[in-house]
Symmetry: C2
């Protein structure tokens, strides 16, 4: 039984008010995989990289026990590269460089050893790749979580809608939920989106936390207020990885467990932003995670006795 994550494994170069990096390891599947690896042991990635990525960088994943047989290495190819600069508010950023490189022709290959997949995270990629992954799995996973973004709604809405019919959980931000549904009210947006296929919708609101809709219920999860957000890159992916990793560990899918999964995802995301790139997610301890979860509990707990 495994958790399979499809997404980018890539290089990032990041500038924030706190500093600047050269090319460092990034990518949605990287962050999601690292986050999930703290909660569930059998994490398997599907991605594509160039020869430039290098064994040392792959070891960041391998040393967390993440399987990379499905990460195709294109001989002579160059890995996907993204460079961005965050503004002072850390909530907006400019993309400086996007080089698709080997990602342009990404055709996901699923190794035979991945066919035990029961939990599947379709990271933010073109809907065609997400669909191909679903088609190539011999058995329908117990849970399919899909992450996407406004860009795919702009250029591939029809394909995106087809994939949505086959997923259990959709994670998007509030602006994307409004775009996808055409509704400003998030309650109305959720109603419409839940008719498109997903049984659960998670609306990510960054520093304002997240909302979970499903089973006729709503859950509002807090975000941990942080003194410094050092580098927001990968926070959403770490959230998704922590979320599905927790559910894979629990082997039980219902609204109550989804709520806790969101708290674990939020906790992993809160670590991610403390340092540049993957640095903070490379060597967390279970104690650190457990203490962070307690912070979330204390942050939102209240008891009203009338």
């Amino acid at each position: 039984m495994s958790l399979v994550i499809v997404g980018t494994v890539a290089f990032d170069a990041i500038e924030t008010p706190f500093g600047k990096t050269d090319k460092i390891v990034g990518g949605a599947a990287t962050f999601a995989g690292l986050a999930a690896s703290y909660l569930f042991p059998e994490v398997k990635l599907i991605s594509v990289i160039g020869e430039d990525f290098g064994e040392d960088n792959l070891n960041i994943l391998k040393s967390r026990g993440i399987q990379v047989e499905g990460v195709e290495i294109i001989p002579g190819g160059k890995s996907f590269f993204w460079s961005g600069k965050y503004h002072n508010d850390m909530n907006s950023r400019d993309t400086l460089i996007t080089e698709l490189n080997v990602l342009a022709d990404f055709d996901p290959k699923i190794p035979a050893s991945y066919q035990d997949c029961e939990y599947l995270l379709l990271g933010n990629l073109t809907p065609a790749v997400q669909m191909a992954t679903l088609d190539r799995l011999e058995n329908k996973p117990k849970l399919v979580v899909l992450d996407t973004m406004n860009f795919w709604m702009d250029v591939a809405m029809d394909e995106l809608r087809e994939v949505l019919k086959r997923v259990d959980v959709l994670t998007i931000n509030d602006a994307e939920a409004r775009q996808l549904s055409g509704e400003y009210s998030l309650v109305k947006a959720a109603d419409k989106i839940l008719q498109m296929g997903p049984k659960y919708l998670i609306i990510k609101k960054g520093e304002h936390g997240a909302l979970l809709f499903g089973e006729g219920q709503i859950f509002s999860a807090p975000a941990l207020p942080l003194a410094d957000v050092f580098d927001p890159t990968g926070a959403g992916d770490s959230f998704a990885g922590g979320f599905i990793g927790y559910l894979a560990k629990l082997q039980s899918i219902n609204f109550a467990n989804m709520k806790n999964a969101i708290i674990f995802g939020s906790a992993l995301a809160s670590f991610c932003v403390e340092k540049f790139g993957t640095e903070r997610l490379e060597n967390l301890t279970q104690e650190e995670i457990s203490n962070r979860i307690k912070e979330f509990v204390n942050l939102s707990k209240f008891e009203i006795s009338e």
Copy 2:
């Protein structure tokens, strides 16, 4: 022992995507007073109105048991009037008309019967009026809550800082917290603001809930996701009124009670926005309030057992 609220009692004319009103009753003290009246019986207002306000409109307050001896009626004067139009997202609005009228010369008078004030809400007004009210109370209240806005930071920052030294709780929104402190991070902003005088800081984030800082702790309160926000006017004032009304009822000020007070304030605000103006706050039942509180509990409750 009473709860005294200083603020505007006024006329509003409001346009939202749902409709348009003629002049209807509004004002910060009106909304705060109505909200507080559901939680605490001895609510007393200090304000100024013109002869145009009329007995019928004052009865909206009186019929909720709110005392208006401190609401000065200026013979021949006209009441403060504000007119605004909300955009489709309901989070931004344009002010169409602001007529200060009798508010321009507001000099708060404190009736002898108000000198039993133990809980004081200084509604959003010029800091000079807030200061005069504090000066004219013979005994220091047990709890002083101050609401203000960016406008006073722009035009009267020095006076505002003087008042801040004398209050226990400050309620502002996130943009105002950033403006007042010069810090983008709300954690750092709160640290600085708590050094300016208040022991507690509430940062209101509208549809994203609220944060409470104080006693070295942080509480994140959810906002109830609503299908329709009919008219946001008065939501912040209803929040403040519900907040201080709950603490006045409890007669006990600590972080745990403040958390619950924020939930009650949020619940009252969530009613306020369901109809135009004060309509929804005029005849709530205790059962409706109690059910709404339960919705807040369910919205944010999670239980993690590891």
